[in-house]
């Protein structure tokens, strides 16, 4: 039977690949942003998986716990702390991106990335 850790790693890999595909090859700007979110969440899942311990306990030492048993079974807390920070950063960048998309949609009336994100040189050539 496939282990939880392996399943999580495979899922994170799939999320990153799907996200990269969407971010690089899809033209709709919302789909690109969803793809970017997939990449971020895939990486977060990967890091959380690193801290996973089969039959482990939450790394918080509570009264009544036996010290040796806690040391043996507690999961590694660092990845969870890192992911918590990463989620906050991801949420804030996502909010800024969505705000920019709203402004650009109001300005240009399109969600096509190839039209919105044209280079200045391409713009000049088009004119």
């Amino acid at each position: 039977m496939i282990s939880v850790q392996l399943a999580s790693l495979l899922t994170s890999g799939m999320l990153i690949i799907i996200g990269l595909f969407a971010a690089l090859f899809l033209d709709n700007i919302f789909k690109k942003i969803i793809g970017i979110s997939f990449i971020t969440e895939g990486v977060n899942l990967f890091i959380v998986t690193l801290g996973y311990k089969s039959d482990g306990v939450v790394p918080i030492f509570l009264p009544g716990m036996v010290k040796d048993v806690f040391v043996q079974n507690s999961a590694y807390p660092l990845p969870a702390a890192m992911v918590l920070t990463s989620i906050v950063i991801g949420a804030s960048t996502l909010a800024v991106m969505l705000a920019l998309v709203i402004i650009l949609y109001q300005k240009h009336g399109t969600l096509s990335a190839s039209k919105l994100l044209m280079d200045d040189e391409e713009m000049e050539a088009g004119e």
Binding site: I36, V43, I47, M82, S92, T93, V96, V101
Partner: protein, 497 residues
């Protein structure tokens, strides 16, 4: 341990928050921004060298009271060197860089407040926040901490572009954010792989784990981590293939904002570059890749600069090209080359900042930076033209300016390390840089004034001219007395290798 080291980050964050709260009260923002701006170059002078361990959790080998009576299983293991807390390292090299950052930030705030009628609390907040972020990136010995402040600096850079009144700023900001949100998770994935291999995110601990054989150097996961962190580095510093987006960013910002943006870029470039060299120095392939990309950045940046007709974009490309010199120094990897690359980085910060402030004077007077629409500016302000000409000479590596010393040192280090072709490339590209400046100086200052060119403002603010003169004096001082900085840099390079 020095408990004042975090002040280097805390002070600008505090100033940023206060300025943001004062947004809308113009006079108060101006006054506070100037007072806070002065604190930035002063703070690093008064902070002592040393390490700061957050929470006071120092490694066991530095804490004699804890280390006594420990079993040999701990004292003989890597646990003895393990850093249990986020660590800030502050030495001579960091002091020079943070001091230069403080000077540039102060001059940028100084000129921007004088050139604009209204003082934006949000804009000054972003400048101070960005300064705090890149300072933390430079000080930290924790790679995840570095990632967090890297992301904060990206956000502030996007904010600074959005604060400018330039066309298509939203498009450029979104494009930059797209790339950022692909490159930053890749950097985080690389950090995650290092965490999985070594159980650590402290850079010194990771190095110890590799050197003591906890992780074998030829581990493919380590190579994958190196590739991902390199990708993040290329994006953060605007090296190829991200060079055009970086120069587009500079062109979409006001000149003083562009000056500070390029300082942030150089800081990210140097700090992440040093991390890569520290952790992955044993991978010769990686050094070759850095060398090739840096040479490519020099060739693409400088050759594309000569074809630009937008002044800001031209300087943006030149800044990318100059970063290539710094990258080459890192890739050669000798004490002399790393000293030279750090010196070149300081010079680039000063000279590109000075050039962007110089472009600001032209924009202020004419309302455009398009060289096709400009001409005859020499008669308008000959003194600024003279400073601009000297700055161009300095960037091209003409003596007695600072870039001459750093480029000479870089060429010598390339020759000593057995890369004469790199030395030749650097000389050729310095000549091309010189040609670019001669061309642009003729177009803007010497060519007859076009009939449709309008002079919006007659007089350039004295503050801007004073800032330019002072920055040029710093450049000449560094050119005449390079030992002011090179001694600290060579000591750092010796420690690094």
């Amino acid at each position: 341990m020095d408990s004042f080291i975090p002040l280097l980050v805390i002070v600008p964050i505090f100033c940023a928050i206060l300025l943001n709260l004062c947004h809308g009260k113009d006079k108060l923002v101006k006054l506070l921004a100037l007072i806070f701006g002065i604190t930035l170059p002063i703070t690093p002078i008064f902070v002592n060298y040393g390490n700061h361990f957050f929470g006071g959790y120092s490694p066991l080998f530095l804490n004699s009271s804890w280390a006594t009576n420990l079993p040999s299983t701990i004292t003989n293991s890597i646990l003895f060197n393990f850093h249990p807390a986020i660590t800030y390292v502050f030495g001579g090299m960091q002091q020079i860089f943070i001091f230069i950052l403080g000077i540039l930030t102060f001059f940028v705030i100084f000129t921007s407040l004088n050139e604009s009628k209204r003082a934006s609390g949000v804009y000054t907040f972003l400048i101070f926040m960005g300064t705090a972020a890149v300072t933390a990136v430079f000080l930290t010995d924790d790679i995840f901490h570095l990632y967090i402040f890297f992301e904060i600096s990206v956000m502030t850079q996007v904010g600074i572009i959005l604060c400018s009144n330039i066309q298509r700023k939203h498009e450029t900001a979104l494009k930059y954010m797209f790339l950022s949100n692909i490159a930053a998770p890749m950097l985080l994935l690389g950090i995650g792989l290092l965490l999985g291999l070594t159980g650590n995110v402290n850079i010194s601990d990771i190095i110890i784990a590799i050197k003591t054989g906890v992780v074998t150097p030829d581990n493919p996961v380590l190579l994958m981590a190196a590739a991902l962190i390199l990708f993040g580095w290329l994006y953060g510093s605007g090296l190829p293939p991200f060079h055009s987006i970086k120069s587009a960013m500079y062109s979409k910002a006001t000149p003083h904002a562009a000056a500070i943006l390029q300082v942030f870029t150089v800081f990210i470039f140097v700090s992440l570059g040093i991390v890569i060299i520290r952790i992955f120095a044993f991978i010769s392939l990686l050094r070759w890749i850095i060398m090739i990309i840096s040479a490519l950045a020099m060739i693409l940046g400088i050759s594309m600069a000569i074809t630009q007709h937008d002044f800001k974009r031209m300087i943006g490309y030149l800044a990318v090209g100059e970063l290539g010199y710094v990258g080459l120094g890192l890739a050669i990897g000798t004490i002399q080359s790393i000293t030279a690359c750090l010196f070149q980085a300081v010079n680039e910060i000063l000279l590109t900042g000075l050039l962007f402030i110089g472009v600001g004077t032209i924009l202020y007077k004419t309302g455009t930076t398009d060289t096709n629409k400009l001409g005859g500016m020499l008669t308008e302000n000959p003194f600024v033209a003279f400073i601009f000409l000297l700055t161009g000479f300095a960037m091209a590596g003409v003596p007695p300016f600072n870039a001459f010393q750093s480029k000479l040192l870089l060429i010598q280090s390339a020759l000593n390390a057995g890369f004469p072709e790199l030395g030749v490339l650097m000389i050729i590209l310095s000549i091309v840089t010189f040609m670019t400046f001669v061309k642009v100086f003729y177009t803007v200052y010497l060519k007859p004034q076009p009939e449709n060119m309008k002079i919006i403002n007659k007089k350039i603010p004295q503050v801007t001219v004073i800032s330019m003169v002072l920055l040029l004096i710093v450049c000449i001082m560094l050119g005449l007395f390079p030992n002011i900085v090179t001694n600290a840099f060579s000591q750092f390079a010796m420690g690094l290798l």
